[in-house]
């Protein structure tokens, strides 16, 4: 090969690079190690984590069981080691699963169209906001304070340089749901979108319909965010939402210390052309057989460049496939049953604790409890709730807890023994 290239050594292939830019020393990295050593390296790192702990953390990332079929499917080289399916004739596997994914997201959210995934829920939110801006021709966004705090931070970062003012509105201190009066006050005729989350960051099922009415009255779109996709197994999606932006981590995607996850945007047919992200569509091949291909690509950056709906290119195809397999395995009955189990576990635990809010909740809830109980629980290899003071100073004596189908009754009883309602008798609870 060297001879064909007209050189004596591979180094010569770099001789056209100016001397000054060439690195004149080896990289300061250790020499390579073997497969066994790599396995060991990561096992050692894992030894310095919460391996073996039970966790009651939620807050956008949930502990749900991952059916074995999920990794079986996504480990297939045909899915794992293929590129974005631009060459439809040799990508029908990926394209068909994307089409099924889009369909199931529509069925779950009650929307007409869904894209083939966004990076995650947090980035889907500013993308949804920008979409509403394009669709309405207006520029301002209002977002509820009980939308995930880190999602709001991402929204602020994106909005800052685009002339897209973002204003927050409050939640009702009693219920934990959005404060409708405050929303009314913050609305004006230049508002493109109202963004709420349901179940919200406190776990409470929101008044989506009421929010939609307020938004629509002023010509704004309603964006409904979700972080706990399992809730869709039992909660009726609101027919009045215009855009749904969500996170699918709950669908067999490992918590993996924060990513990779998969976000989605789903919407009404009339906003289709404003939607960012890849889409698979049905068509036929030249023999007349059903086939799928990526479509409506003119919305995207590789064609429209600076006028594109978004700069997104890479999406989360393999992660979306995990969610697709998960939805297939659980199916119509299973997702509902799973949601019912989550509901039951959360209500069992919450029933023993001092709830901060009165609103209806799914599998997460806020309780009054000092942060010190987390220390006690850690001794028993239980990670308790997320102390809320860092996001909500007014809730500094509260924490957010989540129970899922993976939560064990014994662990929940133990939590109750440390953080029971003031009137409860701790000694009556078996630890």
């Amino acid at each position: 090969m060297l001879a064909a290239c007209g050189v004596n050594s591979p180094e010569e292939l770099f001789q056209h690079l100016p001397e000054a830019v060439r690195l004149d020393r080896p990289l300061d990295l250790p020499p390579g190690i073997s497969e066994y050593e790599i396995v060991q390296y990561f096992r050692d790192r894992a030894g310095d984590t919460a391996l073996g702990y039970a966790s009651f953390l939620g807050a956008g990332v949930y502990n749900h069981y991952r059916p074995v079929l999920v990794d079986t499917v996504v480990s297939r080289g045909e899915f794992l080691t293929s590129y974005t399916p631009y060459q439809a004739e040799i990508s029908q596997g990926t394209l068909t699963t994307i089409f099924e994914f889009q369909t199931m997201i529509c069925q779950l959210t009650g929307m007409d169209v869904a894209n083939a995934s966004m990076y995650d829920g947090s980035t889907a939110v500013p993308e949804a906001a920008m979409m509403a801006v394009r669709a309405t021709g207006k520029g301002r966004v209002v977002v509820a304070r009980n939308v995930h705090p880190e999602y709001r931070e991402v929204l602020h970062t994106y909005a800052k340089y685009q002339g897209m003012p973002v204003e927050e509105f409050g939640y009702a201190s009693e219920t934990g749901g959005i404060d409708l009066e405050d929303l009314e006050r913050k609305m004006d005729d230049l508002t493109a979108a109202v963004i709420i989350q349901s179940p919200n960051f406190f776990g409470i099922v929101e008044q989506v319909k009421a929010a939609a009415e307020i938004a629509h009255k002023r010509g704004a779109l309603l964006v409904v965010v979700f972080t706990e996709a399992v809730s869709l197994g039992i909660l009726e999606p609101c027919p009045d939402a215009d855009i749904v932006a969500g996170e699918l981590q709950s669908f067999a995607i490992s918590p993996s210390y924060g990513g990779p996850y998969a976000g989605i945007i789903a919407t009404r047919e009339k906003f289709l052309r404003q939607m960012p992200g890849r889409l698979a569509g049905q068509t036929t091949d030249s023999r007349g057989n059903r086939a799928f291909c990526l479509t409506l690509s003119t919305r995207e950056q590789h064609i429209r460049r600076e006028k594109a709906t978004s700069n997104i290119c890479t999406n989360q195809a393999l992660i979306a496939l995990m969610a697709t397999v998960f939805m297939t395995v659980y199916g119509k009955q299973g997702l509902r049953e799973l949601a019912r189990q989550n509901l039951a576990k959360a209500h069992y635990l919450a029933g023993k604790l001092d709830l901060r809010f009165s609103g209806k909740y799914f599998n997460e809830f806020v309780v009054r409890a000092p942060e010190t109980i987390n220390k006690e629980l850690l001794k028993k290899k239980i990670i308790g709730g997320l102390p809320l003071g860092r996001f909500y100073p007014e809730l500094k004596d509260c924490m957010l807890l989540c129970a899922t189908e993976m939560s064990k009754r014994a662990d929940m009883d133990l939590i109750a023994s440390h953080a029971a309602k003031p009137q409860a008798q701790p000694q009556e609870v078996i630890a």
């Binding site: 396995v39 984590t49 990794d71 340089y161 039992i234 997104i312």
Partner: protein, 492 residues
């Protein structure tokens, strides 16, 4: 002369929804160990859905057969060479997958106490340091989820710095050979875009650059090597021109596979750049994602990096949220950690010398392909190429066969097409990137296939124009898909 493939059996498979029958299930849940709750009471009757209409109902065997059958309708790196230019489709080592599934790491919750996340933080810190060494930059953020996300982060960093200096400026310069994400990103960051023409040799025209850089220019976004696979020889000079006017140099690291261990952007004047871990660092593309787009910066931009930042206090790692100059978050949590693990596994496996060898092999493969094919295809730019080579379809177009048709015929020979019609500065581009993964045998087969198709263009252009012929799906009608979009299944 097709020696690599023959047609093989694939099985038909309906959509999940067509396969469903009421009552079938593939899931198991344990018995509930707490009392049932009445959903209507707990959630409000009006909030409880009756059913998920249309959702699939299949058995476990049906589920696995469904996805397995569909998988066989895909081409993949595991089948053969995937020479997509600019995409760096290298082998995805399976050890990466196992590493990412290591239990304590895969199940780590982003909000678990820092004391119980030290292993995760150590992985991230190690990767940050390795990427800083590879790029020659001073600091790295791992937060961005993909290349375009990294670009946005990088441009926002520049904007924040310039704003602090008193003027965010108005525009970003982008060469006409750039990826589409570059202008789209600049627009999202609130900048106007000015395109600059490449020189006749396919590199930045520094004289032209000198003319247009003024106080309105925030930065130049450049890919190096550029999308022609050509190293920007004047890059250091370009950096001086920009810096002289208070502007910054952004480098799109999409083509970093040509430089690792050979040259470092930090040493040739780059102020900020992103890396695509799913390209250079072997994490799988997975049919379109996930990726990760770490951003590396010089010291002057470090204060603006997205919060939180890793910091060491004593022997422990911690997250530092108090970063008053930070541009803010670009993503919830800390980044695509699972992808970061895979990239670190790749770096550990190769080590410093191995990474450099990979670069040399990648460039050798691309130069070899160029040398063997330049007699058969038009090569619009004669400059020495690095990890990829861009031909044009000029000769074949004379017979009515365009780059897209030619690419489809490659499929019949057992290869994934090269990148079609990009970069835009080459009319009818055929952009080929073999990566270091391919050995001589597979590359020679590819070259023979290219030559054989070139001959077919002369003798039987129709054969090429209607390709592929051996695939399960023949040429797919993308026009009808776009005219009458069907984006979800509906019951007949």
């Amino acid at each position: 002369m097709i020696d690599k493939v023959t047609p093989h059996i694939t099985q038909n498979e309906p959509l999940l929804f067509e396969r469903s029958s009421p009552g079938k299930k593939a899931y198991q849940l344990p018995e509930l160990d707490v009392p049932e709750v009445d959903a209507a009471e707990a959630l409000g009757a009006e909030n409880v859905r009756a059913e998920i209409a249309g959702f699939p109902e299949v058995s476990e065997v049906e589920a696995i057969r469904h996805f397995t059958r569909l998988s066989t309708w895909n081409f993949a790196i595991d089948y053969g060479m995937y020479p997509l230019g600019s995409c760096t489709m290298k082998y995805n080592p399976r050890i990466n997958e196992q590493a990412a599934r290591t239990e304590g790491l895969a199940w780590a919750h982003p909000y678990q106490p820092e004391a119980l996340a030290q292993g995760c933080l150590e992985v991230m810190a190690t990767l940050e340091a390795a990427l800083a060494e590879i790029t020659g930059m001073d600091a790295v953020t791992l937060q961005p989820a993909a290349g375009a996300h990294g670009e946005l982060t990088g441009i926002l960093l520049i904007r924040a710095l310039l704003e602090k200096r008193g003027n965010p400026r108005k525009k970003i310069l982008i060469p006409d050979s750039a990826h589409g994400t570059n202008p789209a990103t600049a627009a999202i960051a609130g900048y106007a875009i000015e395109n600059i023409k490449s020189s006749e040799t396919g590199v930045l025209d520094v004289a032209a650059l000198e003319q247009i850089v003024n106080e309105d220019v925030a930065a130049l976004m450049v890919t190096n090597p550029n999308t022609l696979g050509v190293f920007e020889n004047n890059i250091a000079h370009a950096a001086e021109i920009l810096h002289g006017k208070g502007a910054m140099l952004y480098m799109d690291g999409a083509n970093m596979n040509a430089l690792v261990g050979i040259a470092r952007p930090g040493d040739f004047g780059v102020d900020v750049m992103h890396l695509n871990l799913h390209k250079t660092f072997s994490t799988p593309h997975g049919g379109g994602g996930p990726g990760a787009g770490p951003v590396a910066v010089k010291k002057v931009l470090e204060p603006f990096l997205p919060a939180p930042r890793l910091k060491k206090s004593g022997k422990r790692w911690a997250w530092d949220y108090r970063r008053k100059h930070s541009i803010g978050r670009v993503k919830a949590f800390y980044g695509n950690f699972g992808v970061l693990i895979r990239a670190l596994a790749y770096i550990l496996a190769h080590g410093g010398p191995g990474l450099r060898n990979a670069t040399m092999d990648a460039v050798l493969n691309a130069v070899y392909i160029r040398k063997r094919l330049e007699a058969y295809f038009d090569l619009p730019y004669q400059s020495p190429n690095m990890h990829e080579v861009v031909f044009s379809d000029d000769r074949q177009a004379a017979k009515g066969v365009r780059t897209g048709d030619f690419a489809k015929r490659l499929i019949d020979y057992g290869f994934h097409p090269y990148t079609v019609s990009f970069p835009l500065i080459v009319h009818g581009a055929m952009m080929i990137e073999p990566t270091e993964t391919e050995g001589k045998r597979e590359i020679d087969q590819f070259i023979d296939a290219m030559i054989s198709i070139a001959k077919e263009v002369e003798t039987d252009p129709q054969l090429v124009k209607t390709a592929p012929h051996l695939t399960r799906a023949s040429r797919v009608d993308e026009t009808t898909a776009a005219r009458k979009p069907i984006l979800r299944w509906k019951p007949a």
